[in-house]
């Protein structure tokens, strides 16, 4: 049922309905809406029941193991939510005087400091609202840097072919051309290809390390030296920071600018698609271009820095201060981890990934890079199953749903055929990993003996496999506009 199907014309929620004697007489008729907007007219109970029922149709961390590679689906502590939603935080207008926000600003300032420390960068801005916006801020800063030096011939950003789609999309939004760099057979950047590509036209290189292939880029120092020598800068896509937190820092690897995905590494909720938060960190080179606002401190007082304080800023990215409430959640999480807890995240997410990789290998699954350590994630390829049994990664993914597991990331990165990118995270138990291996093994057997079971999956979900072609061809993007039933 769609909420509109529950609606009846004239139904009103009186408890939410302000009684007012005010009129709109002073608003010219031609600016007044003629016909009421078609919104559902349902009771509060109907709405509560409908959305509660809908929620139950979701898999989520709170209900299922969710080993979605590159997404870091770890436990989102409930305390982060309830404390970030204290009335004092919710009620703060973003443009209220700093004197009315010292509590909030203290958290933000401390968060900036903690993120500086874990990334090894000189300064952090919390402004970007997700990873992709962090990337934008980063590449725009690189551009501002070159522009400030009148080094305007650099029109190219180098990006490994394993990179996330946001990387090339971002480079283009910043007015750059994208040059793809191949990956070698061990999952590292093809160093020769990189060497050949670097040149005076190179504005910078975007790199994810550990990469989206689930391996650590071992020649990172050489890569950094190469790019820097050519006058380019290095951008670090921090989506995989979880794997190395407290072990090794992007700043120390030689990166000039980095974004973090707080909704991954710092466990803020994914919310069915967002909001996230993508703070950027920079070294000295890019300090003058940091996006605003940034929280500063004078004596004991916190203050919001704007274009007056950072005149060369690459600019503003949001109407106010980014996803403040998400930043609060990340702050709370970071304080609960502390210095001791942060490094353990890297350790135990890596332990879980390597264990799961080993167990799946033992169960007969083919690894994309069997001679490499897993980082916090790793890749299984089902190309054999696809070829020999005609059972694809998509089929495996759907069948996993039936067995009570959210599927890993499928078909990404693009260069590994029929791949599953598996990221268990540090918050899952060994028992869960073992059970997941058992489920994968079951499906493997089914694929061999009873392939229909897999190719027809799922069978236990609210719907069976959906017709995506139809969805794109016969566009149905909204409930037809009409009136609520009488």
């Amino acid at each position: 049922m769609i909420i509109y199907e529950l609606a009846v014309k004239g139904r009103i929620n009186k408890a939410q309905n302000i009684s007012t004697t005010d009129t709109l007489n002073d608003i010219p008729q031609k600016l007044r809406r003629k016909k009421r907007a078609y919104l559902p007219e349902v009771s509060e109970l109907q709405a509560v029941r409908h959305y509660t029922q809908l929620s139950q149709k979701n898999f989520s961390i709170d209900t299922h193991f969710y080993p979605l590679g590159s997404c870091t689906m770890k436990y989102n502590p409930r305390a982060c939510n309830s404390l970030a939603m204290l009335p004092g935080f919710l009620a703060r207008h973003p443009q209220s005087d700093d004197s009315l926000g010292q509590g909030f600003l203290a958290c933000m300032h401390e968060l900036q400091d903690m993120l500086k420390e874990v990334t090894g960068m000189q300064a952090v801005s919390l402004a970007p609202m997700a990873g992709a916006q962090g990337e934008f801020a980063g590449i725009a800063m690189i551009r501002a840097y070159h522009d400030a030096r009148n080094d305007t011939a650099r029109n190219e950003i180098l990006i490994p072919d394993a990179a996330h789609g946001t990387n090339p999309a971002t480079a283009v939004m910043c007015g750059y051309r994208v040059k793809e760099i191949a990956t070698d057979k061990n999952g590292d950047v093809d160093f020769d290809a990189l060497k050949a590509a670097v040149g005076p036209q190179t504005a910078g290189l975007m790199l994810t390390n550990p990469s989206t292939l689930g391996v650590f880029e071992r020649r990172i120092k050489e890569i950094a030296a190469l790019v820097h020598a050519a006058g380019g800068l290095l951008y670090y896509d921090g989506a995989n920071l979880n794997a190395i937190l407290g072990k090794v820092r992007p700043g120390d690897m030689g990166f000039d600018v980095i974004h973090m995905n707080l909704h991954k590494t710092f466990s803020t909720p994914h919310g069915g698609g967002g909001p996230g938060s993508g703070p950027v960190g920079v070294n000295e080179r890019l300090l003058p271009y940091l996006p605003i606002p940034v929280v500063g401190k004078k004596g004991d007082t916190y203050r919001i820095f704007d274009e007056h304080d950072i005149p060369q800023t690459m600019g503003r990215l949001s109407a106010f201060a980014g996803n403040a409430g998400i930043l609060l959640r990340a702050y709370i999480y970071a304080r609960m981890l502390g210095k001791e807890g942060m490094v353990r995240i890297a350790e135990y997410s890596t332990l879980n990934a390597n264990y799961l990789m080993k167990m799946l290998e033992q169960a007969g699954f083919e690894l994309a890079f069997s001679n490499r350590r897993a980082t916090h994630e790793f890749i299984v390829t089902l190309k054999k199953q696809a070829k020999e049994l005609n059972v694809t990664t998509l089929d495996f993914a759907k069948r996993l749903l039936d067995l009570g597991y959210h599927a890993p990331t499928t078909y990404f990165p693009l260069l590994v055929p029929e791949c599953l990118l598996i990221e268990p995270t540090e918050t899952e138990t060994k028992d869960v990993l073992d059970a997941f291996v058992a489920a994968m093994t079951t499906i493997k057997k089914e694929a061999e003996q009873n392939p229909d079971k897999v190719t027809q999956a799922p069978e236990t979900m609210p719907v069976r496999r959906l017709d995506e072609v139809r969805a794109a061809k016969q566009l149905d993007l909204r409930w037809p506009a009409k009136e609520n039933n009488a």
Partner: protein
């Protein structure tokens, strides 16, 4: 270990299985010289009890002042059910619905959201959200450039009556793509775009941005502006307040043909002010422009049994498929906020939304009357408004606002740096939540602050 379930025994078993002696060994591919031994400048871990104490202290420190500020973030009532449901684990801790069959909850919510916001703006299609109102305007201009194939100029006219931060953000986000944002000035008496000032021969314009209400709370002549833009081959991008659309002409009905794209800040629809975010940007458009939309879109389709279901669609526009040729780099959007807004709209219904708009408008009117009963306070513009207005005060507005803050009042937004020509001007707002008592209190405090 906070949030890590492993026992020593399990760790040993797991290392055994891997064939490693200790966890550190798992990091042996990282060059040794890069490794750090400790995160020195991070405080030690706190228990939940300790962080709770700290956060309660900090939240109490910020208090809950009476809010007369708007400017893009509004203090509306939010039914309790909205967040009690939106923060249910199944919504809160799910990812983007990539596995449609296991995400029908989130997907249907987005489909319902798309339907509601399309209806509110009287346009055909909506995406699943953008980051916020400001970045939505930037995406709308990029979309207009892609969509207006007839125009080559990449010139976008942006009135100065559009929220100045939206203009700055748009500039930041589009400037590297050769797009030119050109300002339109406003009338100092009326606080809106002077139709007479529009050029008779504007040349090739790609799009015109039209706000309703504008940043000053004033209602622009949207019909005339829309028709003028269309006449000159430009697309029309509406920047609108969603609550106001329950009483004001929706973009789809502006002028002869209606606006082509509408965008704005979703915060008024059930999202707390919370220091500025997370909010969400909405974006709707005419059917013909759908494939130029940035961001995720949910479609309704059928499953193997012919039963209706929901899935992400038109993904070929997006970065994870199209990479450098995507309509935008956006990936993670503001899903949970859209969930909350959908529940909000369902609970309020058309009547509840309308009453909220009327009461907000009425309160602003009452507030203006009260305020201007003081000699030291005058109204800056003489045109119809929605629920906020600009006032001029007979004192330095920055120091007056500071004094009000000391009395636990957020007295409005200082316009001096963005609109120096307006003098000591403050943008004030009264939503449906403000009471007569609060308005009286504000008036007296403001008058006192001006006088002192």
């Amino acid at each position: 270990m906070p949030f890590i379930p492993h026992t020593d025994y399990e760790v040993k078993e797991m290392l055994n299985a891997i064939g490693a002696d200790n966890i550190e060994e798992l990091f042996d591919e990282i060059p040794a010289e890069l490794k750090i031994s400790e995160l020195k400048n991070i405080p030690s871990q706190l228990t939940e009890m300790e962080i709770s104490r700290l956060m309660h202290e900090r939240a109490n420190q910020d208090n809950t002042p009476i809010c007369f500020a708007g400017g893009g973030a509004y203090d509306h009532h939010i039914p309790a059910a909205v967040w009690e449901i939106a923060t249910r684990g199944e919504f809160y801790s799910a990812y983007t619905p990539y596995q449609a069959e296991a995400s029908q909850g989130s997907l249907q919510v987005i489909y319902e959201y798309q339907s509601m916001i399309a209806n509110l703006t009287s346009l055909d299609a909506s995406n699943a959200s953008l980051y916020d109102g400001a970045s939505a305007l930037a995406e709308a201009t990029l979309m207009a450039v892609r969509a207006n194939r007839k125009s080559k100029s990449k010139r976008i006219l942006v009135p100065r009556t559009v929220n100045p931060v939206y203009r700055k953000v748009t500039h930041t986000l589009v400037k590297n793509q050769g797009i030119k944002l050109e300002e339109l000035n406003f009338d100092l008496q009326q606080g809106l775009i002077d139709m007479a000032s529009l050029p008779a021969e504007p040349g090739d314009i790609t799009a015109v941005v039209i706000p309703l209400p504008n940043y000053f709370g004033v209602l622009e002549n949207v019909d005339e502006l829309t028709d003028w833009a269309h006449k000159h081959g430009a697309l029309v991008i509406a920047v609108v307040n969603p609550i106001s659309l329950s009483i004001l002409t929706p973009p789809g009905e502006w002028g002869e043909k209606g606006a082509d794209i509408a965008c704005g800040e979703g915060q008024p629809l059930g999202i707390p002010m919370s220091s500025g975010g997370p909010y969400f940007g909405f974006l709707t458009c005419k059917q013909a422009l759908v494939r130029q939309m940035p961001g995720r879109i949910v479609g309704r389709t059928l499953d193997l049994d012919g039963k209706p279901g929901f899935t992400l669609t038109l993904q070929a526009r997006e970065q994870h498929i199209r990479r450098s040729k995507a309509t935008s780099n956006i990936c993670t959007n503001q899903g949970l906020m859209v969930t909350a807004a959908t529940i909000y709209m369902a609970i309020m219904g058309p009547d509840g939304l309308e009453k909220t708009a009327i009461a907000s408008h009425g309160n602003n009117k009452k507030m203006l009357e009260k305020l201007t009963s003081k000699k030291s306070i005058t109204r800056t513009f003489n045109q119809s408004f929605f629920h906020e207005s600009v006032i001029n005060i007979a004192a330095d507005n920055a120091s007056v606002l500071k004094k009000l803050a000391a009395n636990n009042i957020v007295g409005g937004i200082n316009l001096k740096s963005d609109y120096p020509e307006l003098g000591d001007a403050i943008l004030v707002c009264a939503t449906e939540k403000r009471t007569v008592k609060e308005i009286d209190f504000f008036t007296e405090q403001l008058a006192t602050a001006i006088a002192s």
